[in-house]
Amino acid sequence: MTTLAGTWPMARLVLRRNRVWFAVWLTALVALPVLGVPSLDALYPTQADIDTYARTAGSSPAAVAMNGPGHAVHTLGGIVVFEMGGYVAIAVALMNVFAVGRNTRAEEELGRVELIRSNAVGRHATLAGCLLVVFAADVVLGTAVAAGMVAFGLPSAGSAAFGASLTAIGVVFAALTALTAQVSEYARGAYAIAGAAVGASYVVRAAGDTGDGTFSWLSPIGWAQATRPFADSRWWPLLIPAGAAVLLVAAAVLVESRRDHGAGVVRPRPGSVTASRGLLNQVGFTLRLQRGGLIGWSIGVFLGGLAFGSVARETQDMMAENPGVRELFDPSGRLGLTDLFLGMVLLMLAMAIAGYVVASTLRMRAEEYAGHAEPLLAGALSRRRWTLSRLAVPAAAAVALLALAGLGVGIAHAVLTDDPMEVPRLVGAAVAHTPAVWLLAGIAMLLFGVTPRAAPLTWLVLAGSVVASLLGSVFRFPGWLVDLSPFERTPQLPGGDLTATPLVVMAVLAIALAAAGVSGFRRRDLATSG
């Protein structure tokens, strides 16, 4: 097949360019579930502890909504899968989305694929070479997770099923991104569509798992979890993701063989010959560049809030049936379980929103490196105004997206409880996460302003905060370490006491870091392309 000529050298190129990238992702994604085994073993050392867990947390609908169905929570392996599987699934999906996007459409957008394709390299070689490496990475990931779990003494059948389920999730989302990278003309668009699919898979699965399970069969994450690792460890559900991946790759190949190089599926329309008034203002200009993402995220967090908000009430019912659960989560008895669950939902949404806000802030770096800052700063635009207008968008978006997420959760919960006052209560609780999200944007701004090359480290700070908050108890991180996460500094809302001090401190800190970043940016050389 001549359209595949050069696939092998392309695969080697992908491997060479991304060796550190893959090493970091794979290490983190293998370490997370594998190290969870000894941690959870220490947390629930006896079968009696495990049985208590199974009766309480392991059967809580709230936990099911967050993590997936608990098929084997009366075993250590089942607890590991239940506590970490859902999060790891999302991370694996995201790794695959980024891995495929950055090596296909992003490269094409930069014009590098053109350079390659002018040689004796087939039309599909870039895509094929990339998928080869990414699929191989997924297999390595699944194998290493399974081997690690066996090494810590878990049964081999369940470990293998769990490892394979992670590989399956990875392969499906890699294949999906292969298609979105053909459809969209821009890498950003390819990430957006595939990322939305990851979010939708998680939410649809949550709806299915808390209901009769039908919806779970519409979600790739649901397919993978249907293997029931450590319960009956079924293998046949993996045929579904395998089939889906084949179809998606076939569709990607079909689109790629019909489209022009550099083009997407939709032809670009001619646009306005003059700039609108809004575009002439730097804040409006920044908004325009981020318009698509902002709209997508607004819809996403609102729908996500609605979906999770609508399952919150079930936790109430369960509490009546099971006093042990209440004891576990809320020894003081002050917080309702529903509020605990709602707080958890808002926390997760806030973390996702923090991801958007950090990305939006780091757009400054991309703009500078692409040479887009230079012509503007060569105009009568001060560096301070350039940065402040680009900071205004993520800062405002943080508040708006949090409010929208709270609105979604609030509306769903208000309808189910027949209490309209739930809406403002939950919007308020969501917006309380603003200072924590701002703090991460502040770190991004500081790094960008002072040392732009190091700015992507913000992602490590965010990832660390997420792991500390969600899994800190599983890994028994020391309290001070967990408390470093800005999300832990936000008061437990709804239901808890609104203490203003940490919020004010975080907001002030965020502003101070951002100010230091702006000042650093004014003092340094502009990174130039030429």
Binding site: P268, P270, E374, P375, L376, A378, G379, A380, T528
Partner: protein, 307 residues
Amino acid sequence: MSTVIDVAGLVKTFGSTRALDGLDLEVAAGEVHGFLGPNGAGKSTTIRVLLGLLRADAGRATVFGGDPWYDAVGLHRRLAYVPGDVSLWPNLTGGEVIDVLARVRGGLNDRRRAELLERFELDPSKRGRTYSKGNRQKVALVAALASDAELLLLDEPTSGLDPLMEAVFQQVITEVKTEGRTVLLSSHILAEVEALCDRVSIIRAGRAVQTGTLTDLRYLTRTAIDAQTARPADDLAILPGVHDLRVDGNRVRFDVDGDRLDETMRSLAAYGIQTLTSAPPSLEELFLRHYGDELTDEKLATAEASR
């Protein structure tokens, strides 16, 4: 004439690389100043220092008498810049980019914008992603030239333009010059520099090696002489300033230094000149002479012969 750009002893280092190594440059008001040098000589770095995008490590650089690092915004209201490698926002149209760039400079002349779009045959409704290199360059050119800026900083502005557009560019710059505006034109297109520039600075490895009017520079270089004489002109080689003498019967060919031309011609006349052609040094020759050490006289001769 007042000085618009004044650079003296400018130093800029990037890590261990010394991009600018004591550069001097002076651009007077109302002149079109050619800025020549091989790739990596420091032309773009100089322009970026003049824009306050990079901070000089040592030396003086002023634009309109102000410090480009500290007074960037104020100075930028009075100048317009065209980068050598124009990168556009993929989803904004050319027209939108022109307006945005004009806005951050402080406005543009709408009539002139329309006129330039027409002269450069640029479709402003297409998106940045779909423009070719030449068309991206035109977007930046229209944005800069449609302004009333007193100073134009043009960094290889015509790279990627076709010859017709190159001609349009030269016309527009000629008009700019008659309006009394100042232009710093970094370029590799020597015909363009010869056609447009009042003065030229040649830089190499971060230093100015030659500066002056084209006439000044030509005086400093050699003229190629090809003559038929009544008697073989064998003895010319002993004259100072004569190089590469080749005598072939009654035909004599040699290069002579500009400041020795007069006395050499007097000596040559003694042999009885029958025909005479002299070729003034082209800018290309000046350029080659000042560019690489690796260029031997032999290569120069070949380059010359192939013209």
